[in-house]
Amino acid sequence: MTIRLNVNGKQNTIDCQAGEMLTEVLRRAGYLEVKKGCDTGNCGACTVLVDGKPVLSCSYLAARAEGREITTIQGLAEEARAFARFLTAEGADQCGFCAPGFALTVLSMKKELHNPDEAEIRHYLAGNLCRCSGYEGQIRAIKKYLEAEHA
């Protein structure tokens, strides 16, 4: 079937199978910032926003996304750059494979939670796994980022 997807404000007409998930379809269409991590909905590397909410694109039916607004990290490039500065300043970017999905969830959290404490940060981001960093550096980066944003 052919579907029309609005990605980062741009309309795409894409061939896909009815049972296909958004990750594959987006990557095929060149949105390589959407990473394939676990295939089972556990790691968060494939996170995109659908109508402003973070979802796992590996577990989101592509056909269902028709008529909705899809945002990848490239669609929030400016905000992502601001966060990236804090992440790299802590050295917590590491291999970087989980970073686009992780950064999108951080940006959603910033919108959704007002002044979250550490437990709330950890909880909001629990669906973004990282095997490199042990998470501590990411937490340090997020706290400093939020502080700077609220200043």
């Binding site: 009815a18 049972g19 998930m21 909410k53 969830t105 629990a126 669906g127």
Partner: protein
């Protein structure tokens, strides 16, 4: 999963016809489709049918079938009526990106053994409403199914209730080894246990043992907790043995009961 034909019905009637007459399969959150290797001849997408709501009507709380877990855990209405119960129940489920996808209806319809939510819904005495109108106790539906194709419309909950949820997981984002919810209905106790690893069951003997006493003693709670473990069947899987599940259940039931009793 391979879906041969994908349909997006415009209203409940059309969805119902596709399911009833063309043997279509309702698609709820769709998160499990990826790991399923079966072939679905006709997928009927329930998105866009207005089934995303949590509202009060006729002395009940109504939760639409397409309401997501994330909506449950952040609902001010549910919070005001059940405290942190729903947050506690679903917040271990992977991450918010998955909880923004998976739905109440998908979980109930799937009658999944590992479900956290079905345990809490059972303990609250939830009812399942099938379109166009049949209503079934959720505990019975989970035990026996619907006996044919169905279109799940909403879940009905009492307007408020005091309840507490307890669970055990090897790690925070894993599936539960076992979970349990206890609730005081105002006239009696309800205790549900899920992830045994089979689906949720009510602990009817333990419930009867506690009777209508709103403030049972520690001793009575301890006995009831042991009865709950004795009356249920447990199985073994990759996460734990039946023996372990049986062993720790009394502690979890006791903690939930004590939390509700205060």
């Amino acid at each position: 999963m391979e879906i041969l034909e994908y349909a997006r019905p415009r209203n409940m009637d059309e969805a119902f016809r596709l399911i009833r007459e063309r043997r279509g399969t309702a698609i709820g959150g769709a998160a499990w489709l990826r790991t399923n290797t079966k072939i679905m001849t006709l997928g009927v997408d329930l998105a866009g049918l207005g089934l995303e709501y949590i509202r009060e009507a006729g002395g009940c709380i109504e939760i639409g079938a397409m309401t997501t877990y994330r909506e449950l855990e952040t609902s001010p209405l549910l919070k005001s009526r059940f405290g942190s119960l729903f947050d506690a129940t679903v917040s271990h489920v992977v991450g918010i990106q998955l909880r923004n996808i998976i739905t109440v209806g998908g979980t109930v319809a799937g009658r999944y053994g590992f479900s956290d939510l079905n345990t809490t819904l059972c303990a609250l005495g939830a009812k399942v409403v099938f379109y166009p109108g049949q209503t079934l106790a959720l505990a019975d539906f989970i035990e026996k199914g619907a006996g044919g194709p169905f279109l799940l419309e909403k879940i009905l909950l009492p307007a408020s209730m005091k309840a507490a949820y307890q669970q055990m997981r090897i790690s925070e984002n894993d599936f539960p080894i076992i979970n349990t919810t206890s609730a005081w209905t105002g006239s009696g106790w309800r205790i549900a246990v899920g992830s045994r690893p089979a689906a949720t069951r009510l602990c009817r003997r333990a419930m009867a043992f506690l009777g209508d006493e709103p403030r049972p003693s520690d001793e009575k709670i301890a006995s009831a907790s042991q009865i709950a473990a004795d009356e249920l069947q447990f199985g073994s899987d990759i996460r734990a043995s039946a023996e372990y599940r049986r062993e720790i259940l009394p502690a979890l039931v006791r903690r939930a009961l004590v939390e509700v009793r205060g």
